[in-house]
Symmetry: C2
Subunit: 345 residues, 2 copies
């Protein structure tokens, strides 16, 4: 499906009161997305909540089956089961859905898109375009330009994932638990299965095939789909850390040929969506607090492996709510509209 060319588009945000939904609203405004009408959809209990947008106030409406009449673009981030139910209805009503949940990502009929990597995949859609998993996006934005210059054969990644990946309530839990622990009280986990304050734990998604959790399987399978290859060996350990909203990842890459460090830096310097933060003398590298609120994925600790000539380490940090979710979705919407905004604003 294509969007009919217009001066401005009616946009609905499904899950508008969530951490990603709120970020979508902010990014639409910040990037001056051509919006003719904005509809904020959420569950009944959020109805009446108001958000500022473009100098107006917009009230949240209840998500219903008939919410999509006259809507051109739906940005969906209300959970997988909500997307499964409502995305097809939105498409039936004539909208294109950019879905931030995992509901359709591995559906062969649905493109899975990172605008810096595979924007052309958007064309072959049946009304739904999937936004990849946050840790996948943050890993692949810097890896793609390197892969184009020197084929990546293998990725071994360990993640340091922020609370925001589990939503606004999880971020609040990190704050509340931290206060409790500092006051000498016990942390009482509710959103996460374990204490998040001053602790870390294996990612809180279900353990599946061969002991890998869903988050790890997403990083593996989505990489194949986005890069259009299953010739890369990808393996991952995903970990939740007491950080609010940016994911970090220690990525070990093996290339087909020995990487040249100067070339790697040159490629990353001109790569869209990437910023090098790599000052060895000052011991200054990517940090989640500095990636928070930023569009770029920060990349540093760029170094070869003396024991393995084709190996290369990177350490990256990217805002989970922005490039890992809301920004990537809005960028897809911009491509749908034929906007000529640069990927990096």
């Amino acid at each position: 499906m294509k969007l009919r060319k217009k001066k401005a588009y009616s946009v609905a945000i499904m899950g508008a009161t969530g951490a990603v939904g709120e970020e979508m609203l902010g990014i639409l405004e910040q990037r001056q997305f051509p919006v003719s009408k904005l509809v904020l959809l959420a569950s009944a209990r959020s109805v009446g909540k108001k958000y500022a947008y473009g100098g107006r106030e917009i009230e949240v409406r209840e998500l219903k089956e008939d919410s999509f009449e006259g809507i051109d673009i739906v940005l969906a981030s209300a959970g997988g089961s909500i997307s499964k139910r409502y995305a097809p209805l939105a498409v039936q009503a004539g909208a294109i859905v950019i879905d931030n949940t995992s509901a359709f990502r591995m559906d062969p009929e649905v493109p899975l898109v990172v605008p810096e990597i595979n924007p052309k995949d958007i064309k072959k859609n049946n009304g739904i375009i999937a936004n990849p998993n946050c840790s996948t996006i943050i890993m692949l934005v810097p890896l793609w330009p390197l892969h184009r210059a020197n084929k990546i054969k293998r990725v071994i990644v360990s993640t340091y994932q922020a609370a925001s990946g589990a939503g606004a309530k999880a971020m609040q839990e990190l704050e509340d638990q931290s206060r409790a622990v500092l006051a000498g009280q016990k942390a009482a986990p509710q959103v996460f299965p374990h204490q998040i304050a001053f602790n870390l734990f294996s990612h809180n998604s279900a353990i599946k095939d061969e002991g890998y959790n869903e988050e790890e399987l997403k990083m593996i399978k989505e990489t194949y789909k986005i890069f259009h290859t299953d010739k890369i060996k990808v393996t991952a350990t995903t970990v939740r850390v007491p950080v609010y909203r940016a994911h970090s990842e220690a990525i070990y890459v093996e290339f087909a040929k020995e990487p040249d460090l100067a070339e790697v830096r040159r490629i990353l310097e001109s790569a869209p969506g990437v910023r090098i933060v790599d000052d060895r003398e000052k011991n200054y590298f990517p940090m989640p607090i500095e990636a928070s609120g930023k569009d770029d994925v920060l990349v540093g600790r760029i170094r070869r492996d003396p024991t393995s000539p084709k190996g290369l380490w990177l350490f990256v940090a990217g805002d989970q709510l922005r490039k890992g979710a809301a920004l990537n979705a809005v960028q897809i919407a911009e491509i749908l509209c034929g906007r000529t905004v640069p990927v990096r604003v």
Copy 2:
């Protein structure tokens, strides 16, 4: 050098008021180490500070050149430059020094010992025995029994290191900064180069050869020395996380032969100093808050790599102050005394 066999030994703790020094005191008492006299040594500003030990109170004395007369065993953890200056004096005075700093670790005349791995190396000492780096110990305790059964060819490790590795002041900084951030104030880094509260950063040691920091080089070089081989390819990314006192590590291992998962579990179950925490159904794996205050290194996320038949992932957590430092040193002292206490108490 050998310790002359006695019923009880005079022990000095050098750096007694530091995070590791205090832990050494507690562990000597807990393990009922045969102490005839205990001398607590620190810099002049700590003189007069008192610690309870075995129902008595012991006052801290100033570390001086003549502090070691009549001392059998020195447990040293007051920093590398202090050890370089005072350890030879202690040896001259007839003591054996178990040194927790990096001062002598790579000295070919000095054994570098993890009691579960290479206790026999203790014998060939010239009065100084080095305690390995904390992240090295925590990594190697579970890897050693696996290596004995199936040679390890390669280790790719990413760490999640606690504040305690930088001492008591760093732990206090994590607490103070967390309070400040929760109160809406700015964090003011003093001990660490960057904000530690709700953040993480590449390990705060100097960047050396080929972009590796000192912590990473310790993990690499100390592994060779402790395992008595340089045939293992070891590479590491070390990261500081907002956790108080236990280090975690995501360890990717490649063996000579395909590992058998049941055998790996069986080996780890009976390995000294190791406890398996690996409940896939409950999503329950090693966590730093559960490793804190414990002697064992917790090991979990034990799984193969479907893309690489010889690969295996482990996720470990170990108390940085205990097994990573003070406990390992006291265990070495126990071997010196010929104590027959089991390694696991």
